[in-house]
Subunit: 288 residues, 2 copies
């Protein structure tokens, strides 16, 4: 199983972004498709995929971001207003459990871009207002001309492993009984391996040695995150939990993880949803 | 050999950042050390490491960023003005060839943080001016209270491999004869593996299958970058070079890479410097 939000069928067509003529031709292409949105939420079409509308149905005053090409057809998303942030409506969660993987990947890219635009209306350098350029893949300051590009924040998400058991934790806001991999933002000046060791030490008081990369996923909630999933070799299993970050943490066996992933009636804990990389990571770990 | 800019001996002491009292105590700790800088460049002390100065030598009007603790001693860097950006002075390059790895890691973190502050003096959401908070690990808008945190941009850097040969490229601005791994910014909505395949396709017209993660490194020039080094299995070796991105690209054998890394007189190409992850990647590849 591939990580969630990966596998978009769209060619990002980077070459069209700097070519104003080609971009305008794409905007005027009668085959163009525009992603239907309900606020920031996806709209699921009657056939079960994302709903696409035609250019004729779009308010002409709205900026359009070029998501890419599929079979030569340009695909856009309108730059709508929206708070974004970590808040996820129940509708998004429901939609993600229904959408084909390719459609979830397209939606994730669109949502991350919209969120970035809405949080970068002004220039960080001079405070001037910025405007869309590069087919929606950048903003330029109208005062100082500085160019700004969509950002992605790397996040490490990891299992510490000790004597065949994996360290999982839970936050109080999560559904009762659910546990997942520890995670945290990578900071300036850190490698992935250093960030993994620091986060496990900060949150659970566990020192780790070797760190093995497992897989990665883009995550479109709370901006645009790159989730980097790893397994780290723990030096011991004596927990010192940071209760500002976690409500609880515990060591689980592979059998317990299998039961959680299978949603068995006697499972010890609830697993993360399939489109979260913690799910993929746990699945890969039980197979290691 | 560890990748450059990794291995900082400082404990980042995240717990002190939200604790104003503890942070003030650190500022008033007589053992505190402050990183000496010449503009944005490092200053190499007579013993060969970074130069540290005492709190008494620092202009009281300058904000101090808490880099972390070593042996209980707080270590700071002054938030100086500076353009940062991709431009690297010859002095930085010379200093990096002399500094111990641990000191290069501390300097890299400091430089990335300074660069971030100088590019985020205004709030992207409302245009209001921002001020330093969280011991230098954030800025808060004085108008709308929005909190902003230091960003790091993930960059994929990779070798495509085909029948035992590695694909390397060169940009026209590089020293004559130097070749390195291809690289590019990861975009919103992509996994590491997807970004690797897209970049190799865009720059060299080569389609790739499996992508193997190798290692990672923070890079403090042009902001704060997370360099993610990979090897990708190429489906063929017929190059279609994007001359907007590259001046040239070529397939090299492991023997040729070894000669370049050893700086042999009859080498086919010049290798990247040891503190660049492309060097580490090439070294790991010849050992694979």
């Amino acid at each position: 199983m591939n990580p969630g939000f990966t596998g978009s069928p769209l060619d990002r067509a980077d070459r069209l972004r700097n070519d104003v003529e080609a971009f305008n031709a794409a905007l005027n292409d009668w085959r163009a498709r525009v992603l239907g949105l309900d606020g920031l939420d996806p709209v699921v079409a009657s056939e079960g995929g994302l709903k696409w509308i035609s250019m004729a149905e779009v308010d002409v005053s709205v900026d359009l971001i070029l998501l890419g090409l599929a079979n030569g057809k340009p695909h856009f998303v309108p730059l709508v207003e929206g708070a974004g942030g970590m808040a996820r409506s129940p509708a998004v969660w429901r939609a993600l459990s229904m959408l084909p993987a390719e459609d979830a990947a397209i939606y994730g890219t669109a949502r991350s871009l919209i969120d970035w635009h809405n949080n970068h209306k002004y220039c960080g350098r001079c405070g001037g207002s910025t405007k869309v350029f590069r087919a929606g893949w950048g903003r330029q300051c109208t005062a100082c001309d500085a160019e700004h590009f969509p950002r992605t924040d790397p996040v490490v998400i990891m299992i510490a492993e000790y004597e065949g058991k994996a360290l999982l934790g839970r936050q109080s806001a999560w559904p009762k009984g659910n546990y997942s991999a520890l995670a945290g933002f990578l900071e300036p000046g850190e490698s992935i391996e250093e960030a993994v060791r620091r986060e496990i030490m900060e949150e659970a008081g566990i020192s780790c040695g070797a760190v093995r990369y497992v897989t990665s996923q883009p995550w479109p909630f709370g901006g645009s995150q790159l989730m980097i999933a790893c397994v780290a070799d723990a030096d011991g299993d004596q927990l010192t939990i940071d209760y500002n970050e976690l409500e609880d943490a515990m060591w689980v066996t592979k059998d317990e993880a299998r039961a959680a992933l299978a949603d068995a009636p006697d499972k010890r804990f609830g697993a993360p949803p399939p489109f979260a990389i913690a799910h993929t990571l746990l699945r890969r770990w039980v197979e290691m």
